[in-house]
Amino acid sequence: MIEIQEVSMVYPNGVNALKQVDMCVERGDFVFVVGESGAGKSTLIRLICREYLPSKGSIKIHGRDITRLRRWEVPMLRRNIGVVFQDFRLLNNRTVFENVAFAMQVIGSSGRDIRRRVPEALELVGLSDKAKMKPLELSGGEQQRVCLARAIVNQPLLIIADEPTGNLDPKTAMGIMDALKNINIRGTTVIMATHAKEIVDTMRQRVVVLGGGRIVRDERRGEYSHHGC
């Protein structure tokens, strides 16, 4: 589903964030990307969302090289990627329902679809009873669930989560992981960048370890594997 080939990334300030990275993610995979700060996790994630263009190499999603997309095609790519951030990024003046509905509204979904799919998404993350509350009335874990619901409501093929549990205590974090696992079981591919070793150990999923801008280890459920495609 995602083929990253010989990708290097040098920022305009000269920082060489990724060096010749090869990585392949199959449809339905759950992949942790771990590594120290500055190892290149965020860069990798941003490249997949096409926030940046790599200095070298190609990134194919469903066979389509996203480094060659035209400007107007980028939004179409993003409709198939749900993004979850460490700092939630919710609209605090809107209700939970409205926050999730917003993601559908802005890509032109009909009111009928919105009324059908938003409750489904909220149910999947266990927030059906909080639909009318505002984000600031919720706990951190609940806010992150709203983000999850917002990320999945457009039924993307891929969820990208950048340190989604970074601001949460371990118990709440595990709840978020359960929700993510739930989403993954339904067929959505998940790529998650994280620092949290205990989560990675508990989940027993594929782990890609980045160090100094290179993949230093790619471990599939306890076994080492070739990280290329």
Binding site: W72, P75, R78, R79, V83, L91, F102, V106, R150
Partner: protein
């Protein structure tokens, strides 16, 4: 499923999107009540000044063209010339390239004119032989600015005694009107840019306040124009309202001024309101919507980069 899949009925989606844009634009105007008010105020003040200046400029232009059209050369004929020679002179004057009109004024005619202007003061001169005036030609040029050149060549012609065209006055007038027009133009451009800058800044505040929304919109795949339209509509609307106010006030004030001038300053030829106001309304509305629209596009540009 393709990576590029979109979907839905295009027409229904377009209508739905436009309902969304307009709703967003107006709810933003209301939500940012004071900011919207300030934007309208800025455009209103700017366009008010601009409109006033425009009215002034149109009238100055009108006035100078009136004066320019009245500017003429008077060429006095040598006293020794006989009638035939004077007529030849007239023909050669008419044939000059830059001359539009030549009119012969006999010394008798000149005296009658003078008498009608000065009355009793020149009464004793009416008998033949006591007329101190000369025959002359009144000459208009096609372009008023050519007057000094034509006057110089007339001066050199045999049979012409003296040329008079109020040299300094005319040249000063031309220099002055030219300067007024250039200063006016520069002033107008400066004001329009200022207004655009101010409205861009005002909308930037709105955009800033909504930067999180814009970011989310980008992440979930809203198109750039989907993000832009509400701000563009907001800017254009603020600009239009900002133009409407000075249009109404200036139209009223100008009508009143022309009415007053007709009674009190009848020698001052002001351009009639119907002509001026139409031109002003068009200019101010075009400028208002342009300033608002461009201002909002400028302020949102930075946020669309990702």
């Amino acid at each position: 499923m393709s990576v590029m899949s979109g979907g839905g009925n295009t027409l229904i989606m377009a209508v739905r999107n436009w309902v969304y844009y307009i709703k967003e634009a107006f709810s933003s105007i209301i939500r940012n009540g004071w900011m919207s008010f300030a934007s309208i105020g800025v455009v209103t003040v700017t366009l008010f000044i601009l409109g006033s200046f425009m009215l002034l400029n149109i009238n100055v232009e009108h006035l100078t063209s009136e004066i320019k059209n009245q500017v003429e050369i008077i060429a006095y004929v040598d006293e020794g010339l006989v009638v035939d020679e004077v007529d030849k002179l007239r023909v050669s004057l008419i044939q000059m390239e830059k001359v539009e009109e030549v009119r012969f004024v006999s010394k008798q005619e000149a005296l009658i004119r003078l008498q009608s202007q000065l009355g009793e003061l020149v009464e004793g001169y009416s008998e033949d032989g006591r007329n101190p005036l000369r025959d002359s030609f009144e000459i208009r040029t096609i372009i008023p600015e050519d007057i000094s050149e034509v006057a110089a060549s007339l001066q050199a012609m045999p049979g012409i005694a003296r040329v008079d065209y109020g040299t300094e006055v005319v040249e000063k007038l031309f220099r002055f009107t030219g300067a007024v027009q250039w200063i006016g133009l520069a002033f107008m451009i400066g004001l329009a840019l200022t207004a655009m800058f101010l409205i861009a800044n005002t909308i930037k505040l709105t955009v800033n306040a909504r930067s999180r929304e814009i970011m989310i919109m980008k992440y979930v795949g809203a198109t750039e124009w989907f993000i832009r339209w509400p701000f563009l509509i907001e800017g254009v609307f603020l600009g239009t309202i900002g133009a409407l106010i000075p249009v109404v006030i200036l139209s009223y004030l100008y009508g009143q001024t022309v009415g007053w001038a007709k009674l009190n300053l009848y020698f001052l030829p002001l351009v009639s309101p119907e002509i001026v106001i139409e031109q002003m309304v068009r200019t101010l509305f075009v400028l208002g919507t342009f300033i608002g629209g461009v201002g909002s596009l400028i302020s949102i540009r930075r946020f669309l980069k990702v």
